[in-house]
Subunit: 111 residues, 2 copies
């Protein structure tokens, strides 16, 4: 994953509204949610929501498909996996950051 892609993805998630939207889409799973439903769940105004959804789509974190007169958005789990992989590799020393066992104390290998 390229640095530029990572920065774009991070910027897309670095906003309360968009993080909320993405969380809702993750919860919804591959089935996704219609734009209007996302608006109901998050309380974001339609035009603002459309702006944020475009931002997330541009970052590759969500995809959309037309279904009747609805537009269904869904989270792109592969992109999120890639982002987490990058952060784990490049920003956490490689291994010690898997939250399953969680050490997180502060002592690990030097450079």
């Amino acid at each position: 994953m390229e640095t530029k892609t990572v920065v774009t993805a991070l910027a897309a998630l670095a906003h309360e509204s968009r993080l909320g939207v993405f969380r809702a889409l993750v919860q919804a799973g591959p089935a996704g949610l219609a734009a209007g439903r996302i608006g109901e769940l998050t309380g974001i105004a339609p035009s603002s929501l459309s702006f944020h959804l475009k931002e997330l789509a541009h970052a590759g974190l969500v995809s959309s498909r037309q279904a009747g007169r609805f537009v269904i958005y869904s989270a792109r789990f592969d992109a999120m996996n890639g982002l987490l992989a990058y952060l784990t590799e490049n920003c956490c020393g490689g291994e010690p950051c898997c939250p399953s066992s969680l050490n997180a104390s502060g002592k690990d290998q030097a450079s």
Copy 2:
């Protein structure tokens, strides 16, 4: 980890300069790097670097200590762990994103 904290941390990393700084600090390990050395490694102008370091510190992702006339910055691995834990739990469905066992190189389970 609170949503607001997460957004702040994501925003701090969502900039090419700051992501580069943070990566350098992660590579340096707990020993950290002097501000000037970070500037050398990243090519960021001093005042701009200071701005970005303050941003990272404010987000809790780095800490600083004075050493003679140098200021040594180091990555806060615990904060990064917390961020990754949040993203894994809330933005990846909970389980399928932990890169611990698997490779994490480039290919992971297909969609």
